[in-house]
Symmetry: C2
Amino acid sequence: MHLVPADRAGRRTIDGHRVCDAIAAIGDTGRLRTWADRFSLLADANRLALLLALHRTGPLAVSDLAVATGMNDPAVSQALRLLRAAGVVAGEKEGRVVRYRVVDPEVGALLGHC
Amino acid sequence: MHLVPADRAGRRTIDGHRVCDAIAAIGDTGRLRTWADRFSLLADANRLALLLALHRTGPLAVSDLAVATGMNDPAVSQALRLLRAAGVVAGEKEGRVVRYRVVDPEVGALLGHC
DNA sequence: TGCATAGCTGCGTATCCGCGCAGGTATTCA
DNA sequence: TGAATACCTGCGCGGATACGCAGCTATGCA
C-alpha cells in the first residue's frame, strides 16, 4: 500500500493510510485533467448560457444564440469553436445557416443538474 | 412571448420563437452565474483532486492533502480557503490539525459523476 | 453580376488566476 | 520556556483567456 510517489515519500503525514486512500480516490491524472477541462467549459456564464439553450431547446443558429444570450456573433462563434474542438457541440450547415447542438452525453448530464 | 430585451429587439433572428424558447431555457442570470461559479471551482485539476479526495475518503488534514496531491501546503491552504469561502468545504480544528470535508450537496453530486 | 446576410478568423488588450516564496500565528511537547 | 510542527497569509510573477474590433468567406436573392 505504498501509493505515495517516491518524490513525496519523505514528507510527514498525519494519517498515512488515509493518504493512500486519498491517492486512490483521486485516481488517474489523465482522467482528472479530462474532468477538470470538462468543468472548465461550463465555468463561463456565457458558454453555460449557450449550452443550456442548446441542451433544452434543441438545435439553434449562431445569430439566434447571439440574440438570446446578448453576446455579439464573434464571441458566440469563438465560444462555439472552443466547444466544438472539445467535442461538446456539433454544427450542421443548412444553406448559410449553421445549427448547433450538444453531442457530448457527459456534458449533457451535467447540464441536467442546472 | 416577447422575451427578447429591448436593447436586442432590433436584431435579426432566424427562428424568432426558438429565440424566446432559448431565453426561457437560459433562465435567471443570477442562477446562471451561480452555476458557472460552481463549475469554476471544479475546473482546476488540483482543486478537483482535493475535492475528490475529500469526497471519497472523508475528512482529511491539510498536510495529508498536500502529500496526496503533490502540492505544497500554501497552495493547498489557498485552494481550501477559496472552497471554504464558497461554502463547498468546511474545516474542523482538532488540536493543531484541521480536517476538511465537503459540505455542499450540489458539488457532492457533481463529484459523483467523475 | 452585385448586394446583403450568416458565420468565421486574427489581433491586441485587459483581466483574472494559480502558484512559489518568505514570513507569521497557534498548538504541542521536551 | 524554547523548539518543532500544522496551518495560514501577503506579495509578486507568469500563464491563460474572454472579449471587442476589423476584416474575410460563403451562400442566397434580385
